[in-house]
């Protein structure tokens, strides 16, 4: 226990809150000409740990009944004490590393006091005086590559949920969420438009998911934003900022910002000054409304939490986390382009698909459910299975099969991609059969459809035989392969011969010089073979037969 908590951190936060980056030149926005907008964002992200921040309680999953994931500590039962969940620290450290934040070797926890029914202890444990990570940056993926500086990242407890029942005019409390681990990521006021704010939140979401630290899902409440905005004339000092609390979608955040910017401009145009306020956002009117003024701002009476003492994070621990954390999206992006010579557009599609994977608890790796599209793709490209001596699979072909065939058919079935739906070894086998002309591409697609529709233990190869999908071969192919075609199969040469004999009029037309009519005969063969023949091979055989006559 170190009790002299504040003296070491003092001075760190004495810099002005509004020391915005003035390096960027002002860019005129048609929506509000002659005004500069300055935006900062606080993001609260739930940490994807199986347990709460200071108790052994398992966190609630969708479908858990209210007040069933609660330990005495979460309910602030007298006599209980907190115990820090180190997994939460490790996951938050991943985020700090990904944001290039300065991880503090010593940080402390503080109590933030206010009375509210969803706060059973009457205080929230947070890191006010001495957060565990300070500084950092997130570069927005725009052409200008706008850097947004990170002020600090702190660990804190989530509150319970209060649900107002209008019928009974009662507030109901669900303690399931109480005490879950949150990280609060505070940006500097470096954004200049609602679009940049949206891009910041989306990029941060992607980063949180990529490092496995949070689901980052705004709809489900695992990521929430408070934004602050001010308006000023370019070149003049920043205006008074207002904070808009608890925005739970990027769309609402952008609407709230636009509404707030126009409100500020209206006030400033009428030569009044904007009062400093905390505001809410109405999802009905798409406007912000006043929650409280600066004078009503609560005094949270921050006090060091005497139970938890100092949180030490050693250089060795940081190094371990750095080495075991997942690859960051930027690195994956350039690696995929370089290693597999993929088109940037295809890489983006694969990364977007990968971003939808489930985030495992406590940063666990392995386990099929945590494998995303990138791992799936690389498994097929690299794992040669039985054909290890053969040349590696063509990454572009593999990617096409994943993006167009597998994901295409899944979305037609209203399903999303998961790595375990069709095991990567199966798709690999299927691709090999198509590439090796054992089945046609058309048959390959039908085979995939069959696998999705009729889940079974049979491998694609077994199914191809069972479903009579093996490609028909010509006499020459059969004799050069040295293996007999499956029993009952005619060879392709015989089928072509039969078609010619059934279509005398077309044969005459072709021989009279109407070359296009050949396609009709090809179509007949294809119909007869139900897609088991390669159209190009059929055309060659037919041409040889007809021209040779």
């Amino acid at each position: 226990m170190v009790l002299c908590l504040r003296s070491c951190s003092h001075g760190l936060f004495s810099t002005s809150r509004r020391c915005f980056s003035s390096v960027r030149s002002h860019q005129e926005d048609k929506r509000w000409p002659g005004w500069q907008i300055i935006i900062g964002i606080e993001v609260h992200a739930q940490i994807k740990s199986r347990r709460k921040l200071f108790s052994e309680t398992t966190v609630p999953l969708t479908g858990n009944l209210p007040n069933t994931c609660v330990s005495p500590f979460d309910a602030a039962f007298p006599g209980t004490l907190p115990r820090l969940n180190v997994q939460c620290v490790a996951l938050a450290t991943r985020v700090a590393l990904a944001l290039n934040s300065n991880i503090q070797s010593r940080s402390t926890f503080d109590r933030k006091h206010y009375f509210y029914p969803d706060l059973p202890a009457g205080y929230q444990i947070t890191q006010h005086y001495s957060p565990f990570a300070i500084g950092g940056r997130l570069v927005l993926p725009t052409e200008a590559a706008v850097p947004v500086r990170i002020k600090q990242i702190q660990l804190e407890q989530d509150t319970a949920k209060s649900i107002f029942d209008p019928r009974r005019r009662e507030t109901l409390i669900d303690l399931n969420r109480a005490g879950m681990g949150l990280m609060e990521i505070v940006s500097e006021p470096d954004m200049r438009s609602p679009e940049e704010a949206a891009l910041y939140v989306r990029s941060l979401q992607g980063l949180l998911r990529a490092v496995g630290a949070s689901d980052g899902n705004m709809e489900q409440g695992s990521l929430r934003c408070d934004v602050n905005v001010s308006v000023n004339r370019p070149g003049l000092p920043p205006g008074t900022r207002c904070e808009i609390k608890n925005l739970n979608s990027v769309k609402f955040m952008m609407s709230a910002l636009s509404s707030e910017i126009h409100r500020h401009i209206d006030i400033l145009d009428s030569s009044s000054s904007v009062p400093q306020e905390t505001r809410g956002f109405s999802e009905q009117t798409f406007e912000t409304f006043k929650l409280r003024s600066k004078e009503d701002a609560p005094d949270y009476r921050y006090m060091p939490d005497m139970n938890l003492g100092t949180l030490h994070i050693t250089e060795t621990q940081i190094q371990n986390i750095r080495e075991t954390m997942p690859e960051l999206p930027d690195i994956t992006r350039s690696r995929l382009q370089k290693q597999y010579s993929l088109h940037p557009r295809d890489v983006e599609i694969l990364l977007a698909l990968d971003a939808e994977k489930d985030i495992p608890f406590d940063g666990e790796t392995g386990g099929p459910s945590s494998a995303g599209a990138v791992r799936y793709f690389e498994n097929i490209c690299q794992d040669h299975g039985q054909g290890a001596k053969e040349k590696p699979r063509d990454p572009k072909v593999v990617l096409n099969w994943i993006i167009h065939e597998l994901v295409g058919q899944l979305s037609a079935r209203h399903e999303t991609f998961t790595a375990q739906r069709v095991p990567s070894s199966w798709l690999a086998e299927l691709i090999d059969m198509v590439q090796g002309n054992i089945i046609t591409r058309t048959s390959g697609k039908s085979l995939l459809r069959h696998i999705l529709h009729n889940p079974s233990e049979e491998s694609p190869k077994q199914l191809a035989h069972k479903l009579d999908l093996i490609a028909l071969r010509t006499e020459d192919q059969v004799s050069s392969a040295g293996t007999a075609p499956p029993a009952g199969d005619m060879d392709l040469t015989a089928i072509c011969r039969a078609s010619i004999s059934q279509m005398p009029a077309e044969v005459v037309a072709y021989q009279a010089g109407n070359v296009n009519v050949l396609n009709k005969i090809v179509g007949h063969v294809m119909k007869t073979t139900r897609g088991r023949a390669n159209a190009l091979a059929v055309k060659t055989v037919l041409q040889a037969m007809l021209d040779g006559n």
Binding site: M1, L3, C4, L5, R6, S7, A75, A76, P78, G79, T80, L81, P82, R83, L84, R111, H113, F115, Y116, P117, P120, A121, G122, Y123, R169, T171, I173, D299, Y300, R301, Y302, M303, D305, M306, N307, L308, G309
Partner: protein
């Protein structure tokens, strides 16, 4: 009535009653006995301790419960405990030769009743007859300890008692709904006004004030600084280090003799009379003046029974406290036992 009793001691709640009632009261080093299950008043000060007729009994109970507990984040590890005891002086079973005993001048304030001075002398002569050396020491921050203690304890209490708001815990006083919609706020106010007694309300208000943004630096922060001074005073006086803060030991004071234990009266007077109790104001707080420094520093303190032999309270029990360095609990219990034996014989 019983063999021994457990109690909690935040600023003297084991040692003072023990002194007044003529029994042994022991507040161990902070972090040696788990606080899990103890309703928190002031987390950084709260200690579980033992009251019994003799030190021998106290030790029998304390030895069982002084073990690490993962459920208390402030519980000291095995390693820290053994490190501390390795720095404690080895005692012989027969005598206390070589033990250095400090008597702090600041613990004999003007408020101190003469009836508590002779009992302290009795204990000191018992120590001397056992072979210990008595020296005078100075703990200069002592006069500020009481104010710092009240700021810290009340601030922590205001935080810890916030949960008794009528939602999950405490009374629930229902208030009339009004149009203004501040039903919850008014319900909190009514619940907490009615549910807490006058003294508790006073302390909560004091603590709430000390934590306000505009008062924090002058009150809470200042109190933490005084607390560090109190801790430094002890560390400069004890021969062994405080193993909790080995990284940053305070500068040694060359003119200060190093001691193993400090001895002082537990209270400034024998048990107050009921009729005196009614008219006291600030006096009730002043009673803690001698017990809070060990609480602020988290040090073990053992109050043993002595007796007043002078004045109108002749024969009344009076406690004399033995304080040791953090983690020297075993040593001070053994010293206490030997002194008790010597006083009885």
């Amino acid at each position: 009535m019983c063999y021994a009793a457990l109690g909690t001691d935040t600023g003297g709640s084991i040692r003072l009653p023990a002194s007044y009632c003529g029994v042994t009261g022991f507040k161990p080093s902070y972090g040696l006995i788990s606080r899990y299950g103890v309703v928190s008043f002031a987390d950084s000060l709260d200690c579980v301790g033992v009251i019994a007729k003799t030190t021998k009994r106290v030790r029998t109970v304390a030895e069982v419960i002084m073990v690490p507990d993962a459920r208390d984040p402030a519980s000291a590890s095995h390693a820290l405990r053994s490190n501390a005891s390795s720095h404690s002086p080895r005692l012989s079973a027969a005598h206390l030769n070589g033990l250095r005993v400090g008597v702090p001048a600041e613990y004999f304030p003007s408020e101190l009743a003469t009836s508590v001075i002779t009992p302290t002398r009795r204990v000191l002569s018992a120590l001397q007859s056992l072979g210990a050396t008595i020296v005078s020491v100075s703990l200069p921050s002592t006069p500020y300890a009481l104010s710092a203690y009240y700021v810290i304890a009340c601030a922590e209490a205001s935080s810890n008692l916030a949960r008794y708001d009528g939602v999950e815990y405490g009374l629930n006083v229902t208030v009339q709904r009004t149009r203004s919609g501040d039903t919850a706020t008014r319900s909190y106010a009514a619940t907490r006004t009615q549910g807490f007694g006058a003294e508790v309300r006073k302390r909560i208000l004091l603590g709430t004030y000390a934590l306000r943004a505009d008062a924090f630096d002058n009150y809470f922060q200042q109190a933490l600084r005084v607390r560090q001074l109190v801790r430094d005073d002890f560390n400069k006086t004890f021969r062994s280090p405080d193993v909790r803060f080995m990284e940053s030991p305070p500068a040694a004071a060359p003119d200060q003799p190093d001691v193993d234990i400090i001895v002082h009266p537990t209270a400034i007077q024998p048990a107050p009379l009921i009729e005196d109790n009614a008219k006291q104001g600030l006096d009730a707080y002043v009673q803690d003046v001698l017990t809070v420094p060990a609480s602020l520093a988290g040090l073990p303190a053992l109050s043993i029974r002595s007796e007043s032999s002078v004045g109108d309270r002749r024969g009344w029990p009076i406690g004399v406290t033995i304080v040791g360095q953090w983690g020297s609990d075993d040593m001070i219990l053994r010293v206490g036992e030997m002194v008790e034996m010597s006083l009885r014989s």
